[in-house]
């Protein structure tokens, strides 16, 4: 595919991606912070639904022979150290790399600073990559997927795992209905937490 057609396709897919991210509200900083403080579970619902749908779709593509997998290599130290730093950054940014752009599109001003910091972070890594490679970015198990570990054909394991996620999501929805978690201004901001005085307990219980 030529670069031009790849760019046009990327733009079209990105518009859909951004539109759905905005409708899902997962780009809202209060949704992300609420999730990481274990107060609002909207982000987990969207994320796991995306994984479940992906499992079904990719399982079908593999089963029909239309496509193979494109997994990333497992490099334990890099996955753990990088993941921890990424998570800390997500909490401070109130965004992930992709939703930073959705925040900019929706109009949040601070997202431009997240974007600038992100570009500098990616550039800093690029300059340090040759130094980091021998310490952090080598070894590991290669492009290992769970179907290979367990010896189960990918589509079956993918469909089974998707079914497990869907069961979990049904339980999650019963525990925390999504309409409440979207919040009054659709930004995922819930009423302020009650001070944990004993007198406040009945009021908090009746509201939830």
């Amino acid at each position: 595919m030529s670069v031009l057609s790849a760019v046009l396709l990327g733009l079209a897919m990105g518009v859909v991606f951004g539109f759905v991210l905005e409708k899902s509200r997962v780009f809202e900083p209060a949704v992300i912070l609420g999730q990481l403080q274990l107060r609002n579970f909207l982000m987990l619902k969207i994320f796991l639904s995306g994984v479940a749908a992906g499992l079904v779709v990719i399982g079908a593509l593999v089963a029909s022979g239309l496509s193979g997998l494109h997994p990333k290599a497992a490099i334990w130290t890099a996955d753990i150290v990088g993941g921890l730093i990424l998570g800390a950054g997500i909490a401070l940014a109130g965004a992930c790399p992709g939703t930073t752009l959705a925040q900019i599109g929706a109009g949040y001003r601070d997202a431009w600073f997240t974007l600038a910091g992100g570009l500098l972070g990616a550039l800093t890594f690029t300059y340090l990559e040759p130094t980091l490679r021998p310490v952090l970015l080598e070894g590991g198990a290669g492009k290992l997927t769970l179907d290979k570990v367990l010896g189960i054909p990918f589509p079956w394991l993918a469909f089974g795992f998707a079914a497990l996620i869907i069961a979990g999501l049904i339980a999650l929805e019963r525990w925390r209905p999504w309409r409440t978690e979207v919040g009054a201004d659709a930004d995922g901001l819930l009423p302020p937490p009650e001070p944990s005085a004993p007198a406040a307990v009945p009021a908090a219980a009746s509201r939830s």
Partner: protein, 171 residues
């Protein structure tokens, strides 16, 4: 029925649509959805204007050209356009700084928020590039391919995120 003018869609419906985007990614581009490597493509391209030597770094060279790299840059630009379109249609365009930050940081100072956003963005992309993926590449795509390294990376991401979020004030 979800309408284009709705303020919010069901997270299950919206999440499923995100998963369906894997179809054109796999079939037409031959890759899975991702977002963070586009930050390398853009920043290394900008840096090459003042420091052409960056092209001697293999990692930069791998990200500077090719259809897949610029597809992902277009994808994240499209995300901004799509979010703008959706927010405009539903009347949820945002201005300034989200109200959650006054609660989380205990101050309404824009300078504090801008500094933390910059730091957050820096850590986010440094971490994503060390781990070779973010919530899209390792999360949506890696877990949907049952990639063992992606499960580890996402567990670490949530651990780091939960720890840092608890250092802020409770929202």
């Amino acid at each position: 029925m979800p309408a284009l003018t709705d303020r919010a869609w069901s997270p299950y419906f919206a999440g499923a649509l995100l998963g369906l985007l894997q179809i054109p990614a796999f079939l037409l581009i031959g890759t899975a959805l991702g977002a963070s490597s586009s930050f390398v493509t853009v920043s290394a391209t900008l840096a090459s204007l003042v420091d052409p030597a960056i092209q001697q770094i293999d990692y930069a060279a791998k990200h500077l050209s090719g259809a897949k790299n610029w597809w992902q840059v277009a994808l994240v630009v499209g995300i901004a356009l799509g979010a703008f379109l959706s927010a405009t249609l539903s009347g949820t365009r945002r201005r300034g700084i989200a109200p959650v930050w006054a609660r989380a940081l205990g101050t309404k100072s824009p300078a504090t928020r801008f500094a933390l956003a910059f730091l957050g963005g820096f850590l986010m992309l440094a971490g994503a590039r060390i781990a070779d993926g973010c919530t899209s590449g390792h999360g949506l795509s890696g877990m949907a391919q049952l990639a063992v390294g992606s499960f580890v990376a996402i567990a670490a991401t949530f651990a780091g995120g939960i720890a840092m979020a608890h250092l802020l004030r409770r929202v």
